[in-house]
Amino acid sequence: MICKKIKLAFQSLFPEPVPVPVPAEAESVGEDQDKKAKSPTPPRTDGVVEREYSIHGYHLDAQLAPAQLITAVTLLDEAEFFIESITGVDWIKDNQLEVVYDFSRYDFDLCRVVLRTRVDRKSPEVPTITTIYPGANWHERETHDFFGIKFAGHPHLIPLLLPEDADFHPLLKDFKA
C-alpha cells in the first residue's frame, strides 16, 4: 500500500524528538516545536498523523517546518502524487498562519496526503514548490492574495484574483473591507 510507504518515508523526515537539541543540521525538530495552544488539545508537534478517512476525508496529515517542505514535496512527486490545492488558514488566536498542501493520487490505491506548515503571522515566509510542481503557481499566488504569505522563489508573485494594485489580504481574520 502506498500509504504505508509514504508514512514511513515521512517518519524518516522527523528524527525521534530526542529531548537534547540536535546540532544545527537541517531539521532540528527539537527547538522549533511551536508552542501552539490549539484549543484544549496539546499543541500539535511536527509529525505524521494517520487520519480516519471516512470522517476526515484524507489519510495522512503531516505537520512540518517550512524548511522540510521541499524534501517532503519531492518525495511525493517521485511517488506520482498530483497536487490538489494549496490554501491558507489564519489562526489569529495563536498569531500564526498555516499553509495547507493537498496531494492525492490518480490510481486506485488511494492515499490523500495533507501537509501543513505554520508560520508566524508577522513575517509569513514559505519556500515555493513551483520548481517541483508547476501547477502550484496559481495556488501560491492565490494564497499570497488572500493571506499575504510570501512564497520565496516564486517566479511571478503578483495578485491573481484581486486587482493588480491590490495590497489588502481579504481572508485574514482582522481584515476590514
Binding site: L162, P163, E164, F168, P170, F175, K176, A177
Partner: protein, 165 residues
C-alpha cells in the same frame, strides 16, 4: 430614458425620426457580453425554444462597434469595471444598457457587508435603461425586457396593451 438623451443629429424630421426609431426598436443587436450565470440564460433565450429573433434581437455581435445594446449579464467586479467602461465608450450611438439579473441591478447575492470586490450594480457607472430582476431571470423576463426597451425607444406598440382594453 431611451431616446431622450441620445445626442442630436444634423437633420431632425419628426416623421423620419419616428420611422428610424421603429427600425431601431425592431432590430437591437446585443453585445456578446456574458459575465456569469445570467449569460447562460441569455444564450438560452437566443436559442431555439425562447427565440429572441422573434423580436429581431438574436444577432449577438462580439465587437462593440457593431452592437446597439449592452446587456450586462452578471456580477461586475472592481477589476472588470474599467473594461466595461471601455466597451461602453466604444459602442456607437444610439446605445442602450440593460441590467440583467440581480447582480447587475444591485450586486445581488454578493452584496454583503465585508465584501471587497463587487460594484453594487451597473447603474453606479452606466446609464441603465432597463432593469431585469431575477437570479438568473427566466428567458421570458429577458424577452419582456427587450419589449420594454422597444417601448422606450419608439412609441410603436408591438401588440395592444392587454390591460387597457
Amino acid at each position: 430614458m431611451g431616446t431622450q438623451n441620445i445626442p442630436s443629429s444634423v437633420v431632425q424630421f419628426a416623421l423620419a425620426d419616428k420611422l428610424i426609431n421603429i427600425g431601431r426598436a425592431n432590430s437591437f443587436w446585443p453585445l456578446t457580453f456574458g459575465i456569469a450565470c445570467c449569460a447562460i440564460e441569455m444564450m438560452a433565450t437566443g436559442c431555439a425554444r425562447f427565440d429572441m429573433s422573434r423580436f429581431g434581437a438574436e444577432v449577438f455581435r462580439p465587437s462593440a462597434r457593431q452592437s446597439d445594446v449592452m446587456i450586462v449579464a452578471g456580477t461586475i467586479t472592481k477589476k472588470m469595471m474599467p473594461g466595461i467602461k471601455t466597451l461602453y465608450d466604444q459602442m456607437p450611438e444610439p446605445k442602450w444598457v440593460m441590467a440583467l439579473g440581480n447582480c447587475a441591478i444591485s450586486g445581488g447575492p454578493f452584496a454583503f457587508e465585508g465584501q471587497y470586490s463587487i460594484i453594487l450594480g451597473a447603474d453606479v457607472f452606466l446609464p441603465v435603461d432597463v432593469y431585469i430582476p431575477g437570479c438568473p431571470p427566466r428567458p421570458e423576463a429577458l424577452l419582456q425586457g427587450i419589449i420594454e426597451l422597444e417601448h422606450l425607444v419608439s412609441d410603436w406598440k408591438r401588440w395592444k396593451n392587454p390591460e387597457a382594453s
